[in-house]
């Protein structure tokens, strides 16, 4: 719609070099311009603020206020029904830190995050390196690896929890056919983490591969040609040219998958029909813990506890994010040309 409107402006612009036809219509136009000029000073000064204000007003109400208010809630004895109670200082934090389940949830979150982030990034790099070659039907391959991205995490969880079924699941079925014992994908700690990590990898590997691909395409081809002439193998080129050149993108992907990975909720929540993270919380994550404290059936409604746990999760994410940032810098800068 806007495209069709644009030429009209050009046609009717008043500074057009053609002799202006006289008439009442033209007079009106001139008066409007004069009026516009008088206003234009304030127009120029105020407009930017006008344009950014919808974002900032809405963000202040629905984004910033809750963030700040979480701090308040975390310092009070606050229940879903009773509302704000007594000021308790850091008691909520103490309570959460004293809970064994919180630490189990923290362990689970880390385990699932590591089991998903590491294979995912490695696999995404390999896929991107292949997609970066001069393939036939590029768009087809790129779209193909992106299909899982449009499947909702809840749907992914339902599909995979079925495939990883303990008794009749596809995976155990196949294991049985090749003569192996079935694995307790829902009953044991590490297998349940592996299954959930598989869901995350399914949905995000292709997406990250495309991000890596974009960065790879920005690397000048001459580097590779020069390296090939020097006799460097494909593998050698990958590690000596591609990886160091990807540093900013690697940092970006690692940070975003840290933030996302440590917050994981949908997949573990839907991994079985009760949503409690297993009989002994073997796959309950921090966000599930927050949910259970605040809104869950068991021990729910403790908003103070939930808010404190949310702050602790944020702290963990910040710390891990910083460690990741430093580590990635160190790893990816070894052997880099000093260009970047």
């Amino acid at each position: 719609m806007t495209q069709s409107l644009a030429p009209d402006v050009v046609v009717s612009r008043p500074t057009d070099s053609q002799p202006a036809p006289s008439g009442p219509d033209d007079e009106r136009r001139i008066r409007r311009i004069a009026f516009g000029h008088r206003l234009s000073h304030w127009d120029v000064k105020l407009s930017p603020y006008l344009y950014i204000s919808p974002f900032f007003i809405l963000f202040a109400i629905t984004g910033l206020f809750p963030l700040i208010y979480t701090g308040v809630v975390s310092l009070y004895d606050w229940h879903i029904i009773g509302g704000q109670g007594d000021f308790v200082g850091l008691k909520n934090f103490e309570w959460v830190l004293g809970q064994e389940k919180f630490w189990i949830a923290l362990r689970n979150s880390f385990s699932i995050f590591l089991l998903s982030a590491i294979p995912q990034i490695i696999l995404a790099l390999i896929i991107a390196a292949i997609l970066d070659q001069n393939l036939k039907a590029k768009t087809f391959w790129r779209m193909g690896v992106l299909v899982p991205y449009v499947v909702a995490p809840v749907a992914v969880a339902l599909i995979f929890s079925n495939m990883f079924g303990d008794q009749y699941g596809l995976i155990n079925n196949i294991l049985g056919q090749i003569g192996l014992d079935p694995i307790g994908w829902h009953s044991q700690v590490v297998p349940s983490h592996l299954a959930i990590a598989t869901m995350v990898n399914f949905r995000w590997t292709g997406y990250n591969a495309l991000i890596f691909l974009a960065a790879m395409q920005a690397i000048p081809r001459d580097y590779y040609e020069a390296a090939a002439i020097d006799g460097a193998s494909r593998i050698r080129q990958f590690f000596s040219i591609t990886i160091p050149s990807l540093r900013p993108t690697l940092i970006f992907v690692i940070i975003t998958s840290t933030i996302g990975g440590l917050q994981i909720f949908d997949e573990p929540r839907m991994y079985d029909s009760t949503g409690q993270g297993g009989a002994s919380a073997q796959w309950m994550t921090i966000t599930m813990y927050i949910y259970n404290q605040g809104f869950g059936v068991a021990g729910g409604g403790q908003f103070g506890h939930a808010a404190a746990a949310a702050w602790l999760l944020f702290l963990v994410i910040v710390i891990v994010g910083l460690i990741n940032l430093l580590a990635t810098r160190a790893i990816a800068s070894t052997g880099t040309r000093s260009g970047k």
Binding site: P48, N134, G144, G206, T287
Partner: protein
């Protein structure tokens, strides 16, 4: 920028040039690997069709039958007719929520992005840095006060407005449009419009908005998909009478958890709308991801 990223299937063999021959020729192994990756990407969907088209006994069969059964429509009907799952209502809600949110985010992000990218005003730098910084804060941090506000102050618990309102603006959207417009919209064009007597809002409407169209379309796609697949917040604030699709799916599991053939038929049903969107707009989505990455 856009043209560089845009890929067309017309590159089919048309460029068997010397450059391709140099170092970058794919091997059979590369194609084979990609085929495996794509089969892996599609397999879970096929699996849900396989189970979803069978009956309760299909799963207990130790020899997997790799051909679908004939019960998909019957299973789908059970999902659609089940009152407590409310599939049609969920579909309608998801459409309303995702569309509203996508339109709103695109509009407000373009407005703010244009201001940050092209207009000079006091405080623009720190404000933009603030916007970017908020992108790193996890949503869970504000979930408890958001619940208090939506349910106890505004009495919107169970109402899809409670899902729409917090999503109307996006810091990522503002960042995305700022990045795009600062490169795609030449200053000369704006100056020319000003010289020609266009006021600020006219300049925005006739110059910035048309220039923003490709990026706006991609942002809209991402926000639509993100909102459609979002679970955590709708799960908290909505109830079973008025769910969005992911919430309805979660109900499906608790209602039918013994019969996976019905659950997975429902999974497939709920995925079909986004799969259609993907077929229509997948190319844009791919180039959008790649473009965002270069700039991010």
């Amino acid at each position: 920028m856009t043209t560089a990223v845009k890929t067309r299937p017309t590159s089919w063999g048309s460029k068997r040039s010397a450059r391709a021959a140099a170092t970058n020729k794919p091997t059979i192994l590369g194609y084979a690997f990609l085929v495996i990756v794509i089969l892996g990407s599609l397999f879970p969907l096929y699996w849900s069709f396989l189970i979803g088209s069978g009956d309760a006994s299909t799963l207990r069969n130790l020899d997997v039958n790799w051909l679908p059964g004939g019960n998909f429509l019957a299973n789908a009907a059970k999902v659609l007719e089940n009152e407590s799952v409310g599939f049609w209502r969920a579909l309608g809600n998801s459409l309303i929520v995702s569309t509203t949110v996508a339109v709103s985010v695109v509009l407000f992000s373009t407005l703010a992005g244009y201001a940050f990218a092209k207009l000079k005003f006091r405080g623009s730098r720190p404000l933009l840095v603030f916007v970017i910084a908020t992108m790193a804060v996890p949503t869970q941090l504000g979930i408890v006060p958001l619940f208090i506000a939506m349910s106890q102050w505004f009495h919107l618990s169970g109402n899809i407005l409670a899902v729409i309102l917090p999503a109307l603006v996006s810091a990522f959207g503002v960042f995305w449009m700022t990045q795009y417009l600062s490169q795609a919209l030449p200053d000369e064009l704006i100056e020319a419009a000003r010289v020609d007597g266009a006021n600020m809002i006219q300049t925005f409407w006739y110059i910035a908005l048309p220039a923003a169209r490709p990026a706006a379309a991609m942002l809209g796609l991402f926000i639509f998909i993100g909102t459609w697949t979002n679970f955590f917040w709708p799960f908290i604030i909505l109830d079973s009478n008025n769910p969005t699709l992911p919430v309805a799916l979660s109900l499906l599991q608790s209602n039918f958890f013994v019969d996976y053939s019905i659950v997975l038929a429902g999974v497939l049903l709920s995925t079909i709308p986004l799969l259609i969107l993907f077929v229509v707009a997948g190319k844009q989505l791919v180039s959008g991801i790649m473009q965002g990455a270069v700039k991010g």
